[in-house]
């Protein structure tokens, strides 16, 4: 633990810590472009120059290890002058593209120019070296070689993280540029990260291109709902519409990365949503009020249970639901409906692609939570068998898809049940077959926790109010339970989680406070 002093503040840091990392720990920001905490150190941008006592020249903070008694200054005139010079050099050939550049607003060059630059250009606009703009280099990325400051983050990412090495530096001097090899486009499932790590606008997202200026976006901490890995993300939205998902650092789960499939998950929350409660009478869908829809559903469930016994009622839960919702669904099934026919399935349409990094075969964010809270895959098999045998009179089904069944299979299966109530966000075969559609909130419109494949319980938060008349799943479940005669006193997801942590051994001792932003592993998890 060497002791050192930076800008007059004394601190002790672990052995092998660099000046840049040590300064970050005590809240001093040293400007940098090429340094990234999850990539190797290149030391080529020269922005992090600091003055170290007894060194004749300025040192780069990102690659100088703190030693005992080191005295560092990052706030002297000498440092400032050097950093300003480095910045001016980088801006020499940088195009004046800010009005059309998607990076504007979160650009390293803009931020540091305002802090260290504010100089007039000493270079004529006509003398700038021009390179190829708007290159589709595959994946989710558009390359603008002109805007690049040659920090090599992308090159290192592709060599060290994906190990595919599609990009390299080409040419020399002023004409140096990054590019892909001729005819060989980016071919990995993590290309979106390049847009995140690029400190300037050289690599930008194809999907987000020109959609929205970043300063209009609000962000909320969330969890990617795309697979069971549970990558930590921030969801960026404006006016009730999600615009993009970006990874959030969590060294135990996804470091600072996320996959390309996950990045496009936001579209599901924007498109083909169920927005009003619908009751289907004699085959015709009729928009209903929440009270009508819940009352009718409760009545039909009670009727089925009274006439044909609790065995005629079934609940199919969804691994897309949060722990809180699954806890209430289980409570509803076993305590109020008193049925033994309940279960869930983690099977989804598609090939279940997985790799050895972040992408998992189970495409649901909360299969582990469903299992821990008492739902079983066998239960789903039992429920489907009971439905095809015609034993089920009333069925409560969560989610937009039913296993990997085709639309025709879903239709023929559900036609055997006289009353199907669905709690789901998206339009599909299930909602078209349901007699009561109870539209629910997307992952950005409600709060809760998911349990990932490794058993880590992580919070996702509410960004904005549900679209249309869609309701919060917890409110729907509580509304249904109350109309079935239960005395539930839950107010919001936190109160449900409290009850859940008291009732379930796996979650015992957990609270929203103790989960923090990084989550906690369940008892017995990894």
């Amino acid at each position: 633990m060497p002791n050192f002093t930076i800008n007059g503040i004394a601190a002790a840091v672990p052995d092998g810590t660099t000046i840049l990392a040590a300064a970050h720990m005590i809240g001093i920001e040293i400007p940098h472009y090429c340094y990234h905490p999850k990539l190797s150190i290149a030391g080529n941008c020269r922005m992090c120059l600091v003055e170290v006592e007894k060194f004749p020249k300025l040192q780069i903070a990102c690659n100088t290890v703190v030693t005992e008694g080191m005295v560092v200054r990052s706030d002297t005139e000498k440092v400032r002058k050097a950093v300003t010079g480095v910045l001016e050099l980088m801006l020499i050939h940088h195009p004046v593209d800010c009005p059309i550049c998607d990076q504007a607003g979160e650009c390293g060059l803009q931020n540091y120019y305002m802090k260290f630059g504010l100089h007039k250009s000493r270079y004529d606009l006509e003398d700038k070296v021009h390179k190829k703009k708007v290159q589709d280099i595959g994946g989710q990325i558009v390359l603008d070689a002109e805007r690049c400051i040659l920090c090599s983050r992308c090159v290192r990412f592709l060599q060290e993280v994906t190990k595919t090495g599609e990009m390299e530096f080409f040419q020399r001097g002023d004409h140096s540029e990054i590019s892909i090899f001729p005819g060989r486009k980016l071919s990995n499932n993590y290309t979106g990260n390049l847009a995140d790590i690029c400190p300037v606008g050289a690599l930008t997202s194809k999907d987000f291109r020109f959609k929205c200026r970043v300063w209009y976006l609000s962000s909320v901490e969330s969890i990617c709902p795309g697979c069971s890995n549970g990558c930590n993300i921030v969801a960026d939205f404006k006016g009730g519409i999600l615009y993009r998902l970006k990874p959030r650092r969590n060294d135990d789960v996804n470091q600072t990365w996320m996959c390309d499939f996950g990045r496009l998950e936001y579209k599901k929350a924007n498109e083909s949503r169920l927005l009003v409660p619908v009751l289907r009478e004699a085959g015709k869908p009729v928009a209903a009020s929440w009270d009508e829809a819940l009352m009718t559903s409760a009545m039909r469930f009670r009727e089925a249970a009274e006439k044909h016994g609790p065995g005629s009622v079934a609940v199919i839960a969804s691994p897309q639901s949060s722990n809180e919702e699954l806890f209430l669904a289980k409570k509803l099934a076993s305590e109020i409906l008193k049925t033994e026919t309940f279960g869930f399935t983690s099977r989804t349409p598609g090939d279940g692609f997985s790799d050895d990094f972040l992408i998992k075969a189970d495409k649901n964010p909360n299969s582990m939570g469903a299992q821990l809270l008492g739902f079983a895959e066998e239960g789903f098999g039992r429920a489907v068998k009971a439905i095809s045998d015609g034993k089920i009179r009333a069925l409560l089904i969560f989610g937009n898809v039913l296993s990997d069944l085709s639309d025709a299979e879903v239709e023929s299966l559900l036609s055997k049940v006289s009353f199907v109530a669905q709690v789901g966000t998206g339009d599909g075969a299930v909602s078209r077959a349901a007699h009561a559609v109870l539209p629910s909130a997307s992952f950005a419109e409600r709060g809760g926790t998911f349990t990932n494949i490794a058993g880590r319980v992580q919070r996702f938060r509410k960004g904005f109010a549900p679209r249309g008349k869609a309701g919060n799943d917890i409110e729907i479940l509580v509304g249904l339970a109350k109309r079935l005669g239960a005395d539930w006193k839950f107010d919001g997801e936190e109160s449900v989680f409290k009850a859940l942590s008291e009732a379930s051994a796996s979650f015992s001792g957990m609270s929203y406070e103790s989960l923090g932003s990084g989550g906690r592993a369940v008892a017995g998890g990894q």
Binding site: C98, P99, I100, A104, K133, V134, R209, F210, K211, R213, W215, Y216
Partner: protein, 161 residues
Amino acid sequence: MTIGVKKVARPEQMSFGESLYLLEIMKGLAVTMGHFLHNIAHNKEIPTIEYPEVRRTMPARFRGCHRLMKRPDGSPRCVACYMCATACPAKCITIVAGESPDPAVEKYPVRFDIDMLRCVFCGQCVEACPCDAIRMDTGWHTPPEDTREKLIYMIDKLLEK
């Protein structure tokens, strides 16, 4: 011209003459007629003008109706950077950006609407524009329209001036 306010005490009960109204109407008409005759005699002093045949001369520095500038080839100079919409205190500018067919331009406004009913004519949009693409006309205010929809200027209208 200053407008004076004269407070009139209302009697609690009307007299017989007043309750007939006829006399009072005559008195009122006499006042109207007095003004009418006065205005005929002193025509030049009337503060109203016969718009739209007669129009006021605006001060030289007045800036009113917006226009979008064009490039020499006729395409909009605007690159949909949203600076004007960001600067606008009335939030009256709606822009939707798109990929320009011209690769040298890259970004252009697919939609550019100004809600003239909301605009407060502060000129911040003109000030913010990095491309000198939006300007405000001198000499004349926003022409009146008979429906609200017509006062939401779309990109075609803003470009054609």
